[in-house]
Symmetry: C2
Subunit: 448 residues, 2 copies
């Protein structure tokens, strides 16, 4: 934590850039961690960032580039020549390289790949580009330590030294047979404690978890979390070792998923950040607001249909926001619990049982809230009949809201649709409309 991006330091950097004082800059960033450099690139303006990327070593800048926001990175890369981009790519691990390249337009992509000098790196990148983003193939890197079962410990250590130069961090050593089929893994402990002449075949651990190249990213994340793995090998149909996925990519994946779910629940349809432009933010927010608008017009139309009771019971109309809010809140609560339960594979048993449980739960909540509301309205307005009508309606609306909030995500999940979309505005809007309809209908029955 030695490098703290203070305002003073930032001013110093900016001054050096405008003075073209490269020596000072190079000294300043000599041993910088890529995450700190990324923070600097994010804090200075765009021309200054470009200046730094051009000045500093690709070894330093390539990893920093991958830490930047996608739009900042895109803008920077767009200003570099394909050759300059290729130099950055050359220094990246294959998984990062593919992520960076796929953000470029197809013409530039080809030009950049053509400029990559290391043939193996180029081939690896081409291979990884075929895989789906949301699959194990999309997350994996080609860099790994691979040893053959026929080697001795001494030969293995020698080979590992060579391979380790390309691998940033040695998580695991994977053991393959001569057909390159994954047959086990080697613990560093065993490697350290075995005689140098021992054959790998004698000391490797034959039990190794692996994922298939086409497995969904979500499932990979679940497996790695469940088994507390820091890396997992990726194999194809024939169990041939293709690459590995490391925990840092999974951490990013988990965070992104959580962010997305949170935003869906809050009615934001695409990944946006507080710092995005007003236009980006509007595009992300407007669709759900339109849905809310349509719901509100629907509610208004329903209420218009009950205009005849307005002169006798204006009170009922004053309580529509309460009914709508409660229907919305209960629906969001129920759906959030189901959505999270589904995400964690916690929801077992039939839909029917879930709905029955939710019905009892909502009934309990509805009873408590209904009694409180009855007490208040009966005393405040002195109209017991109206108070009864409002409270009983609230009770029924809460049960209905709970059932809808439980059913919709379960239903979407069964149909293979991400249930997270069902929390937030979707549930709120449908519950608003149904809630108000049921409310007036029951109240009218009781009062007339």
């Amino acid at each position: 934590m030695s490098f703290e991006i203070s305002d003073v330091l930032l001013e110093e950097i900016k001054a050096h850039i405008s003075a073209g004082n490269d020596t000072a800059l190079l000294a300043l960033f000599e041993e910088v961690h890529f995450a700190d450099l990324a923070e600097t690139l994010d804090a200075v303006n765009w021309e200054e960032a470009l200046y730094l990327v051009r000045l500093l070593d690709s070894e330093t800048t390539s990893e920093a580039l991958m830490e930047l926001d996608e739009d900042v990175r895109e803008r920077l890369l767009d200003s570099l020549t394909p050759k300059e981009i290729a130099e950055e790519i050359e220094e990246m691990d294959t998984d990062d390289a593919v992520d960076a390249i796929s953000e470029l337009d197809t013409v530039t992509q080809e030009a950049v790949i053509g400029h990559i000098e290391d043939e193996e790196h180029r081939a690896d990148i081409r291979e990884l580009m075929q895989y789906d983003d949301d699959s194990a193939g999309g997350l994996m890197a080609k860099e790994l330590i691979r040893v053959k079962e026929t080697w001795t410990v001494a030969g293995c250590v020698r080979e590992m030294r060579r391979q380790a130069e390309e691998v940033t961090r040695v998580h695991s050593v994977y053991v393959v047979n001569k057909e390159n089929e994954l047959i086990g893994r080697l613990s560093l402990k065993d490697l350290l404690t075995s005689d140098t002449k021992t054959k790998i075949a004698e000391i490797y651990i034959p039990k190794v978890d692996a994922v298939h190249i086409n497995d969904k990213a979500e499932d990979v994340a679940k497996v790695m979390q469940k088994y507390d793995l820091e890396a997992i090998p990726v194999v194809d149909d024939d169990n041939k070792l293709l690459g590995r996925i490391t925990i840092d990519d999974i951490v990013d994946f988990i965070r992104d998923e959580a962010k997305e779910d949170y935003q869906l629940a809050a009615g934001i349809t695409q990944e946006v950040e507080a710092d995005d432009s007003i236009w980006e933010l509007t595009k992300a927010r407007l669709p759900w607001l339109f849905l809310g608008l349509i719901g509100g017009v629907g509610a208004a139309t329903i209420m218009g249909g009950f205009e005849d009771i307005l002169k006798d019971y204006a009170l009922l109309f004053f309580y529509t926001p309460l009914i709508a809010a409660m229907a919305g809140n209960v629906g969001v609560q129920s759906s959030a619990i189901i959505v999270q339960g589904l995400a964690n594979d916690d929801v077992k048993g039939s839909i029917g049982n879930r709905l029955i449980k939710e019905m009892f739960l909502a009934a309990l909540n509805g009873l408590i809230l209904g009694i409180v509301l009855f007490g208040f309205t009966a005393i405040w307005y002195g109209d017991y009949k109206a108070a009864m009508a409002i409270s009983i309606s609230l009770f029924v609306v809460i049960i209905m809201a709970g059932i809808i909030g439980t059913f919709i995500p379960l239903f979407l999940h069964k149909r293979g649709i991400d249930p997270a979309i069902a929390t937030g505005p979707f549930i709120t809007t449908s519950n608003d409309i149904f809630g108000i309809l049921i409310y007036f209908w029951i109240a009218k029955m009781i009062l007339f």
Copy 2:
């Protein structure tokens, strides 16, 4: 993924338990992964789980216990004697051991600790129990590989072998001086590639990130994510090496935090799961529903104050759910973006600038939605004046809702309160009330 908890397997396990067929059970679970065993313990009933815990080796069950839901684990541990619990604890890493012990009542805690035979383990646990749950000390484990700078590579490897027996996974090797002050780390690569007579002092990497024992868990998570660390050492005021925190604990922490934020946004006040009891779920849900009830009563009271315009403009009352819903939705959107931005340290600049940006954003959204609503209501009801009143109010309400949704989380954050509490019911309720008040007030001004 060889072990799949199928219904068939589960029936088999249950049959073996009821027949008391221990040999078959021991064979079945001989090489089971603790995560799979945890899934089994979760799937069978409580007496069966207890039977398995008693039957199987503590080495196998202790880690599985830590994977269980807190309430399931608590119930199981409650049925074990302190001595039996101590046997499980003995097999756990110190961080897990402390988590398990702190769930017991204080009397049992002392009895369990008294039964731990390994003196060092007992002392470590006592030490860790002093630290705050939400601090680096609360996350760290005492197990780590520690080498002295004065050692040679050969001596180091010898010592590592001994220490490695207690450490499940070797993440990093930390180098200390003779005062046990952390001075660097050793890469396994360098260790593998150096001559056995080389002094550690010559090959260690003096740059090592560390966190302080009292650092907040949240900050530790941020640092480890930022620098893609898989483990980080923990030091005290004097830079003495106390323990280390591993990424799997951080992954759990990130997931729990995301879950908590999501639930707060959905109006659920404590961590609950879909499978919790109706009473647990009610306790988590009712407080926010009460808030909604109070908000609804507030809205009804405001509307009652505008009863005089009811006979001329009943239409206005039909549109209150729409206004309330839009105010709520916009508020939740704005606050969600700010809450996430704050969590990621993305929100820079002054509160004033944020509010101005949000004002423009809300004005753009409000303008679009207001025009659409005006078009619809003007044509549908043929009352241009009323349509104008409703649409202009909507426009103003949306701006206000955006500002409140932006301001409240920023304000809470400044006051040191978790802003996540501000998304969801809190914002919705306050925006409902303010929205309806402003709506009637503006509409009345325009129409009368």
